[in-house]
């Protein structure tokens, strides 16, 4: 099958590559670009470990074709920290122990980042609903919720400071 040339911006950097149309975004990120932060979990759009941000929206990259991303602006977990400083959500997951095995964490982080852009001051119920497309089999979610609450507070303090 004919390869298609796609260009997209990922974590602020421009990429242009020829891909087979059937290449899923998650495979493109991990295998073509060596961006292995986003994980492959269920591959059926249930678990959310592959979540990335496409044009300001959370998307499961296992159920999205790389060719569909022509012209898109993508953020993966690798793009969250700036100049070696952890983002608020990363700091929250670190301090509140929002992970155990860490497999779901890249998806949780990218989704939580977007959730706080959509709703900077979420209630606990809104956090739980907001991350309901991300499965964690270790933590029971309690510390993940605390981590997102920590990040929300920190972002608001930074905004008002």
């Amino acid at each position: 099958m004919t390869k298609k040339l796609v260009s997209m911006t990922i974590n602020g950097k421009k990429y242009e590559e020829a891909v087979e149309p059937r290449t899923l975004l998650i495979h493109f990120l991990r295998e073509n670009l060596n961006l292995t932060g986003a994980h492959i979990g269920c591959e059926t759009s249930h678990c959310g470990a592959c979540t990335v941000d496409i044009d300001g929206e959370s998307v499961k990259s296992c159920t999205h074709l790389a060719v569909q991303c022509e012209g898109s602006d993508i953020l993966t977990v690798e793009g969250l920290a700036k100049n070696g400083v952890l983002s608020a959500v990363q700091e929250g997951f670190h301090l509140e122990h929002g992970l155990q095995c860490g497999f779901c964490t890249p998806g949780m982080l990218v989704r939580s980042y977007r959730l706080l852009q959509e709703n900077p001051n979420p209630t606990e119920a809104e956090i739980r609903a907001g991350i309901s497309g991300n499965l964690c089999r270790c933590t029971g979610y309690q510390n993940i919720v605390k981590a997102v609450q920590y990040a929300a507070k920190k972002l608001q303090e930074t905004a008002t400071a």
């Binding site: 099958m1 149309p21 290449t23 899923l24 759009s45 959370s58 998307v59 159920t63 497309g133």
Partner: protein, 343 residues
Amino acid sequence: MNKSRFYCLVFVDYELFQNIFIFVTNKKMNLLYITKNVEKYIIHHSVFKPHEPGDKMIPPEFDYHAPTSVTEAIHLLSELGDDAKILAGGHSLLPMMKLRFAEPAHLIDLNRIPQLRGIKEEGGLIKIGAMTVENEILHSDLLKEKVALLPDAVRWIADPQVRNRGTIGGDIAHGDPANDHPAIAMALDATFLLQGPQGVRSVKAVDFFQGTYMTDMAANEILTEIHIAPLPQNTGCAYIKLKRKTGDWATAAAAVVLQMSQGKVTKVSIGLTNVADTAIRATQAEQLLIGKELTDEVLSQVAAAVSAVCHPADDLRGDAEYKTAMAGEMTKRALLAASAKIS
């Protein structure tokens, strides 16, 4: 759908469920019809074609087309015929392709056609572009005001990420009785606009669904718009869905649109999800409700009338008896929730 070449395959699954599966494909092995929900089918697939360690779930090869207008899309569809499939949100089609239940040689991606997106009020109707994603429906102020059932119900469809890609048109045109929009569209008496080489035609939601994965849409047509009459003031509506987890299909779900006067039902419609080969309207239950108060006795009669029209398949969500009972229960709850919204 092209009815000229059918292949019918029958599998008997002794170990897992002692069930018989029948599915129909065309010569390209594109899935046209199966008797059971996909989830069971996937389990079944693994019995016949075990995945090797290291296997990646990559769809089979296809050519990708991204038309920028409906006309261009229909032209492509007519030209490529049976070998082409439409890609909307992709959250049903891509998983099916990974498992080789669908192997189209061409994908026609509708995501680059702006005219298929958006929600507007025009000529006394609410018009929703088929490629409008679930999250846009969820947050639409126009729908919250005029067709509150939709944003209310969409909360129970999939999860936040999937709702960013999943479209109302894809959910409808896929023809899966487990999808939520078909029953909701039936309860709202929605009309679907289908565009093909010969022009545009409209079909009522109640006439659109013909069987599991079978609809009235021809192979060279595209679902372009969903039209819904705004609900009159003081209409109560609710969608109550029983599901095991976020992202699951309904074990059973009921969509209710209700009008009452002095405590008595004056108009009602009930749509049911995942309890038959297609979404269905529970017309007998509707007729039974007219002129009645929502007493325990009436609600029990309604549940019985609803159960009488259900023919669900046994699967991991429960057996037919349980699902039938739950369809009645969801309808009762939806009626009570809808009536509570009428002041």
